[in-house]
């Protein structure tokens, strides 16, 4: 299911915990699997569960709890807008609305060309920079007023 490279990375995570507590590596392992596969299918979750010797439903609990894991396929770029309270009070909701209009999609939807998926996120710990969004779980973007958003979208070809 995963390349030897990904498995090696997972093994490195497992090695950080006592031998009988492999499942402590579940978050890292799911993240690595998602990185390779693009999203976490139930087959992928079951594979990771099996690899860590834990029941599939236990891995599913984790995968469905954190919203950075994608249980459905996403576009090339996943744009997650923070709409938690501090951001909400400082333009987060507006930024989301602007994006929706601009892309012609709602939250949890992907543009027809498969380029961008829009998601709502939870506090990213950067409330002072609101509105904030994150691209593909990795790249933080701060102070996202409409011009900044336009600039970002132009970049994400």
């Amino acid at each position: 299911m995963l390349t030897p490279d990904s498995l090696k990375r997972i093994d490195r995570e497992i090695a950080k915990y006592p031998a009988d507590q492999k499942q402590s590596a579940v978050m890292a392992a799911l993240a690595i699997a998602q990185e390779e596969l693009g999203w976490l299918s139930s087959e992928a979750i079951e594979f990771i569960a099996g690899y860590l010797g834990m029941p599939p439903i236990a891995a599913y609990e984790v995968a469905s709890f954190y919203n950075m894991y994608d249980l459905k396929p996403v576009g090339k770029y996943k744009l997650t807008v923070c709409t938690n309270l501090p951001c909400m009070l400082t333009g987060g909701v507006d930024a989301g609305e602007y994006l929706k209009k601009k892309l012609g999609i709602g939250y949890n939807e992907t543009t027809t060309d498969g380029r961008i998926t829009l998601k709502e996120g939870e506090c990213m710990g950067a409330c002072g920079d609101a509105p904030v969004m994150i691209v593909n779980n990795r790249r933080m973007c701060s102070w996202m007023n409409p011009e900044q958003i336009d600039k970002l979208l132009a970049e994400l070809e």
């Binding site: 139930s42 979750i45 079951e46 029941p55 599939p56 439903i57 236990a58 599913y60 609990e61 469905s64 709890f65 954190y66 919203n67």
Partner: protein, 784 residues
Amino acid sequence: MLEIEIDGKQAQVPAGSTIMDAAQLLGAYIPHFCYHKKLSIAANCRMCLVQVEKAPKPLPACATPVTNGMKVFTHSELAIKAQKGVMEFLLINHPLDCPICDQGGECQLQDLAVGYGGGASRYQEAKRVVFHKEVGPLISMQEMSRCIHCTRCVRFGQEIAGIMELGMANRNMHSEIQTFVGRSVDSELSGNMIDLCPVGALTSKPFRYSARSWELARRRSISPHDSLGANLTVQVKGNKVMRVLPRENEDVNECWISDKDRFSYEALNSPERLSKPVIRVDGALREVEWNVALDYVSHALKDIAQNHGGEAIAALASPHSTLEELHLLQKLTRALGSGSVDFRPHRRDFSADGKRAGTPWLGMKLSEIKDLDAALVVGSFLRKDHPLFAQRLRQLARKGGKVSLLSVTADDSSINVHARLTVSPAELVLALGGVVKAAARQKGVAVPSGLELVEPCASGKAIAESLLQGEGEKGKRAIFMGNVAEQHPQATQLHALALELAKLTGASVGFVGEAANSVGGYVAKALPTALDGYEMFAQPCKAYLLLGIDPEIDCHNPQQAVAALKQSALVVSLSSFKSGAALDYADVLLPIAPFAETSGTFVNAEGRVQSFNGVVRPLGDSRPGWKVLRVLGNVLALPGFDYDSSEQVRDEILPEGGVFVAGLDNGLDSGLSDLTLAPGAAASGLQRIADVPIHFADPLVRRAPALQQTRDAALPAARMSAATLAQQGVAAGSQVRVKQAQGEALLLAVADETVPAGCVRVAAAHASTAALGDMFGAISVERA
């Protein structure tokens, strides 16, 4: 010890206790949902908030450890306000559907809402909707909006059943209890989740909408299935058993029962129930009155005894029969001049009979299992043969006890095992010999004779080591012999080796026993002095008395049993059911009452005498088995059959009374002397491994519709490892012809890596494999 004061009452509790523990000790009630004494603490419902002196806010009683001098108020203004607040939140998303909810009347949320809920809701917004889930034939998850996310069901799976099947997916208001991608819940203990669920989210599928809890009378009973003797509350409406629930008995079943115990009651109302005596007239079966049937039986038996001698009569009883029935059957058979009586139809090796030091039993109390340091289970499909015994071992392993398994398949035991050795049935004796030898060497004493050629493997050594640890402090380690070890063709050798191992390690030896009266049968002396339960079919007799048994399904060699029954002059079957095969071979069918309709006694694995009364009247014209045998004794004019009650019969068997039977002893008079083990001698050709699947194991459970739809009741297949499949030239998923002695069966070949090489696992106790022979022994597989 710590001092604590709750609502002005003082108590002393051991360090580590929670406020909830202390409150229970004092009899103070603190409302709760997620807390359960047998489960880990989750502290997620917050219903148990109480006021603690000097604490700035209310604290959850279930999760707050007691500190010395703590003062707790469970009913102060602050506590009540907190509890009411929590209740309001719990009710926000809970549907107002109590009138159509199956839990109504026995719902903890309903009860506590009366005490702590408001008269009206302040919440005007939309309630959330949770979709229903499909998880199999036993548990209904149709109304998951009712769930209050206490996670009792999840923790039960993880901690008690040993297999996490339900989990809580998603987060916050989107949380849902579900299985992984809509799979079914297959645990053999799953029904307990229905009891644990404090609301009507998990309900019993077979019971749903059939009665309200307040319409039901609660009666006490004992499970007639496995050897644990689970205590039951049987709920009755009219004259019908509507539901079975556990009756708490910490020493026996704790607060659990297996799904078999819980749902087998459905068979009590099966259309296959036999409700009138039936005799064969001119080849056809005809319903007759009791006196006609009993006269017929008495004449026929006397005839045979006169013309062929009493020895021509054989009697076989199910080990699920009551103590009283077993006693009267053997008494009657012996009075007719025959010693061919047995209650162990699955057994093959009877050579221990006559050498036993006493009644074989578990070797310890069930409640002592938790104190073991190490345990070895030999030859058992542990989880499926003994769901609650396995549960006790699971708890032992969870606390660090070393549980090892030596068996013929590597089935998932859901126990965190210390060591595991899986060998073919033919190698089982050798493997146990290996453990004995390893133990002798590790202890530095002479290896018992006969074991010179055996070489213990790594797992064998690990098992020996675990049994030797802490040797000297007596009785802390145990060897348990499972069903396979008793049904095995070399059962006595296994027994002798276990005793040898016990001698070396100081462990106790015990038999788990396959049925409700596996100990009781010995106590009732339903034991052969002539032909045993196997020989009576191998050397056909003229007449057979069958008690509560379907020999075509329940015998070690069903093919041989049916052939013998067909050739005999008389087959009298005392049964609760009319099954296909019996209609073929039986001359008389006498309807006897199953456990719910008769009084009787089961002696469980630990020797505990558990008597019970009938909870409903016998169906139709059926009568309690002990009464039928008593009257038959009278009609035959046999002496000593004048009993007025089943208690009189019991007192004849157990004159000294008491909670436990006397004379329990697993010793054997002869030791290992005649045994020489040689590796390699055993294996040649393909061998059969026969399990008795959990939901086929007795006549009652076989006819319980919901249980028959579970995964555990799947059709038997020919299961073997991929390598064995390849060797036999058959593909997984294809039909194969399985042959044994003169019989054959068409089965699906299934790849199963838990089956050792050179073996085929073909379940016994099922009509589709009834044409086959011995449970263990040579078998062949070919493309169909």
